[in-house]
Symmetry: C2
Subunit: 252 residues, 2 copies
Amino acid sequence: MPYDPSAFPPFAVTVDLVVLTVRRHALCALVVRRGEPPYEGKWALPGGFVRADEDLTSAAARELAEETGLHAHGTDSGLPGAHLEQLATYGDPGRDPRMRVVSVAHLALAPDLPSPTPGGDARGARWAPVDELLGVGDLSRYADDGNKSSLAFDHEQILAAGVERARSKIEYSSLATAFCPPEFTVGELRRVYEAVWGVVLDPRNFHRKVTGTPGFLVPSGGTTTRQGGRPAQLFRAGGATLLNPPMLRPEV
Amino acid sequence: MPYDPSAFPPFAVTVDLVVLTVRRHALCALVVRRGEPPYEGKWALPGGFVRADEDLTSAAARELAEETGLHAHGTDSGLPGAHLEQLATYGDPGRDPRMRVVSVAHLALAPDLPSPTPGGDARGARWAPVDELLGVGDLSRYADDGNKSSLAFDHEQILAAGVERARSKIEYSSLATAFCPPEFTVGELRRVYEAVWGVVLDPRNFHRKVTGTPGFLVPSGGTTTRQGGRPAQLFRAGGATLLNPPMLRPEV
DNA sequence: TCAATAGTGTCTCTCAGACAGTATGGT
DNA sequence: ACCATACTGTCTGAGAGACACTATTGA
């Protein structure tokens, strides 16, 4: 088959975002309420069209900034940053009933934001616990329209992929620090791991592990007592991106 | 921004394939020679347009079958199978000088084929060692056209991503068996790891490790002497997909 | 004083790497 | 005989899990 650029089928290309954060000991994702059909009134992942002159990463970063006010790391600005990476691409015919849409899903990891959803447009937006969105152990959420999902389109599948990526990636990389503010304690970092994995970790072994892994954490000098109890040392993320040896997720 | 399906910019969507195999102790990728501009005469990854009624995985499986005669696992047929998974999506404006093309790259892992490139169309196709294509340690491959790559478009970047995915994935999954024929020996599996990672492994520790990992290998009963020396037991791939504990890549 | 969290030390078991030694085929 | 490869066993050191113990704050 010759490569004939004039005879291609028409596609729309969008980016969808799985934006994760840790709020009140739970892993949460950003969802927006749809204001028009199809799936009007349902919750969906934020996203939008890729513009004609824009690469995929830029489109995802732009959508992230529009929805949350966060800027992707690498985007130079004094604003709060988030980790952003490409996740996977979804392009089944019929995933959007209106036309053929190929969506390049991205994963963003953000620290807990002071205000729930600053910026963003007028649509309703909220942080929802992923366990709720993915219906963990919930068999009574079958809607009337036959869509068993609590999210529009194939967004539940995309969210599940993003959550699984985050869960596995904090094992062998220092990405868990992307959920933390610039300065954080070992205990706060442990609570991130516990929320993302849904487990409880031994504080003493965890402390030995993360402080002993070279390049993971660097002490910033200060201490804090915001958790109560003995004041804890404050750390920043170190330069290491890949952890060796990795953090081990229990009960595998 | 309202979601207006009638106002989308025009995109073409293609699939590109990183097809890897192990031949004569080297990790090799399938490349085809371009018969038309741009990059006429250069080597490129196989690929093609996604059809209007076809999902992305089907398009990749179709291209794989057209180019190699291999069928993706899951595609029911008596034909030789290969592992196929989505890799990443490349959509920079200008990556194709003719128009805006978004390419969903896929990774395929195949056993060494008896005939170099059965099936496929009339264009030249070959298995090339990835070290050669990626120009490891080669600074003299700067072409006249300013493209420092030995491959067309951004295919060197895509190939590098595919190779890195394969290298890391055989650590924690049983995917290395996708490079082997249905029955294989521990020594043949070890040579796969050595070729993909570019290292030498201790045969005794490797044997202990793979035979001790539950679900990785199941003995098929037979033995073979095709490598010379004492006859070796033949194995098939076991049911396990995730290896626990993982194989460890030396010199990390 | 007690409760809560931070941080250190110690023991044990698993497992990876190094490598000796035995088994069994081909030439 | 000799070589090549397959396979088994043993030692050692690194590190994870379990958990006792001490340190330092606020209520």
